[in-house]
């Protein structure tokens, strides 16, 4: 470090009468490249001498004294002396551009012919196409009120897009039912396989643990009254009516909803969706409907599976830690859960399936045409799906409560 700073060269202003510039040659022993600039006043002109290695890792001499020299004296012309110039790269060219811009502002002519031919070539290229004044992105600060207006506008736009998507979907569904649009049967089977059996391991794990957690949470309170037996009621009702469906839906929105958004988004980027349109295939019917159908079919089944897993998880805790026999637990569960509880769970889960497929496919279809847009589509598919799921679940729970079922 000290070695480097020791060799740093700076601005050298020679005597105004000097005919030969003082050359600052890099010492032979040092490793860090050095460079220097000096200005020599001549009659109505200034000779700027460049010396040393003007490379990116060199320490740059300050330009201001040279600029000051140009400004303070009645100078009409700048000429360059480059006899001592060593290696150079963008470091030198950017400094020269600054210098030349400054000179042209002050109305001082610059004799570019005195520069090496290759630098002249680069400078010509740089100035060949004038800078587009309006091309720089507007980075003006917006006030919070403006930001509010903009984001409200965006929210309105988003809801509009959502409505349009749902509308198109409904039209396509009817067209498919009437036989005017189709999707491939084998696609449906593929999607069912993708979102059904392949999701079992994670659904198993999560549901077992949720059942286990429910049992523990309930047990802490219920054992205060010696009512551990009611853990069975809590777990079985909790799983069938709420948690089984909700957890499955959240797993599936992360697993399948994001996948749908990415698949369709990538197809959009590759203009595969345009290609479908030119082949007279409705992308809604061809891509969205089979995915949605697959989820509607699979979700209740997964939900049933999750319910059972949850009850097993809860049973494990109850039997092992809270002095309830397995027979008692199963008996209690059987008497607590009615068919209607399962049905409520199924209905909820089908609705969640529709919502997951809807948000996944919608974000995919709205995807922009870049790699990062596909990523955004995946993210926003999951976020949208989870918001929809939780809102829908609350609404349905309230309705069930009001109806007394």
């Amino acid at each position: 470090m000290s070695l480097r700073s020791a060799h740093t060269c700076g601005y050298v202003l020679s005597a105004p009468t000097g005919m030969k510039n003082s050359k600052i040659l890099p010492p032979a022993t040092h490793s860090a490249p050095t460079c220097a600039i000096s200005a020599i006043r001549q009659a109505k002109a200034v000779e700027i001498a460049l010396s040393g290695d003007w490379v990116l890792d060199a320490q740059l001499p300050p330009l201001e004294p040279v600029l000051a020299q140009i400004e303070t004296n009645a100078i009409k012309k700048i000429i360059f002396s480059t006899t001592a110039l060593g290696r150079w790269d963008s470091m030198l060219v950017t400094e020269l551009i600054k210098l030349i811009d400054y000179a042209s502002q002050k109305g001082v002519a610059v004799d570019k012919a005195s520069l090496p031919a290759s630098i002249q070539g680069l400078l010509t290229l740089v100035s060949a196409v004038p800078e587009r004044v309006d091309a720089h992105r507007d980075q003006a600060q917006t006030s919070w009120s403006q930001a509010l207006v903009v984001s409200t506008g965006k929210a309105v736009q988003h809801s509009k897009e959502m409505l349009i998507f749902v509308g198109e979907m409904i039209i396509s569904t009817f067209a498919t039912l009437r036989g005017q649009a189709h999707f491939r049967r084998q696609d449906l089977w593929l999607y069912i396989q993708e979102c059904g059996p392949s999701a079992l391991p994670i659904v198993t794990l999560i549901s077992l643990l949720v059942g286990l957690i429910l049992a523990f949470v309930g047990a802490v309170q219920l054992s205060l009254f010696g009512a551990q037996i009611y853990i069975a009621n809590l777990v079985s009702l909790g799983m069938t009516r709420e948690m089984g469906g909700l957890m499955t839906a959240i797993i599936m929105s992360g697993r399948t909803g994001a996948a749908y958004a990415a698949q369709i988004g990538t197809m959009h980027v590759n203009s595969e969706i345009d290609a479908l349109k030119t082949m007279n295939l409705d992308p809604m019917a061809f891509l969205v409907l089979p995915r949605m159908l697959a989820l509607i079919i699979i979700m209740p089944l997964l939900c049933l599976y999750a319910d059972l897993m949850g009850i097993i998880g809860g049973g494990f805790v109850t039997v092992n830690f809270f002095d309830v026999s397995l027979t008692e637990y199963l008996d209690r569960t059987a008497s607590a859960v009615k068919m209607k509880d399962f049905i409520i769970g199924f209905v909820k889960c089908s609705v969640f399936g529709i919502l997951i497929a809807l948000s996944g496919c919608m974000r995919g279809m709205q995807c922009g045409r870049s790699a990062s847009a596909v990523g955004d589509a995946g993210t926003s598919a999951v976020v949208t799906a989870i918001v929809f799921i939780v809102v829908a679940d609350s609404v349905m729970t309230i309705i069930c409560n009001r109806l007394g079922i």
Binding site: T266, N270, S271, A275, N280
Partner: protein, 263 residues
């Protein structure tokens, strides 16, 4: 007098408020190999999207014969477009399906042929583009040139009267590009189809085109048109001359060009 196949009438194309091209007027005759040329970003591909029904015009229309594509109701539009095939720039094969499934897709959609017959047609189309035996490959397993040829097989699946190509030579090496050009030419004569090519590849323009339109990026309209060879020598528009001479305006260059493309 050749029969008009596609007539573009007063077509104005916009993205939002931004006008890309305005008041385009030209006619594509039956049997033409018609080139839509122009510099980057002048709206060639956008024009193509208007012609194949993917983007609605701000003004004007694209007429197939007497029928306006955008005035027609959706059903009639589908019938018009059923007579066309499109090869997209990237091929746009559905990546989740094999080549055979890709080519079969438009056939099974439009007809009720038995699967065996569909398979026969698919093999024939793939053989036409030199991909016999690649039926069960996925698009990602093929090179860029092969993907384009497979896309061409799909575009030709229903023996369309009009074939559209979006930058067929983009991203291909000169030899592969030349082979694709030759393929386009031989298909044009064998199928007696009308071919519309969006390109800025000069070699392709002179090798295959017998009629063209030039979209100018400055004035934002079609300033000239006609057989490319004739344009090269007789165009009165400096932009057209410069484009066809690769930015050069010397006689030397244009005579070189002539020698390279005797067609």
């Amino acid at each position: 007098m050749a029969e008009a196949c596609i007539t573009v009438k007063d077509l104005t194309m916009t993205y939002g408020d931004f006008v890309i091209q305005h008041d385009l007027n030209f006619t594509i005759n039956r049997g033409d190999v018609f080139i839509i040329m122009g510099g980057n970003g002048c709206g060639k591909t956008t024009l193509l999207r208007h012609m194949i029904g993917l983007k609605a015009p701000a003004k004007g229309d694209v007429c197939y014969g007497e029928q306006g594509l955008w005035q027609a109701d959706p059903k009639a539009r589908q019938q018009i477009l059923a007579r066309t095939g499109v090869l997209f720039q990237s091929g746009a094969l559905l990546s989740s399906m094999t080549l055979a499934e890709n080519v079969a897709l438009p056939i099974t959609e439009a007809t009720l042929l038995p699967p065996k017959k569909v398979r026969e047609i698919v093999s024939y189309k793939l053989a036409l583009v030199g991909l016999a035996g690649f039926e069960d490959y996925y698009p990602s397993e093929l090179s860029g040139g092969m993907q384009k040829r497979a896309g061409l097989a799909r575009a030709m699946a229903l023996d369309p009267e009009i074939l559209f190509f979006d930058e067929p030579s983009a991203g291909l090496d000169p030899i592969t590009a030349k082979l694709l050009d030759d393929l386009i030419l031989s298909l044009s004569s064998a199928l007696s189809a009308t071919i519309v090519v969006v390109t800025h590849d000069l070699d392709s323009i002179f090798a295959i085109g017998n009629n063209s339109v030039f979209l100018d990026a400055e004035t934002r309209t079609n300033i000239d048109g006609g057989p490319p060879q004739k344009l090269l020598h007789e165009s009165k528009h400096p932009n057209v001359i410069r484009f066809l001479n690769r930015g050069d305006q010397t006689e030397q260059n244009s005579s070189n060009r002539q020698m390279r493309s005797p067609a």
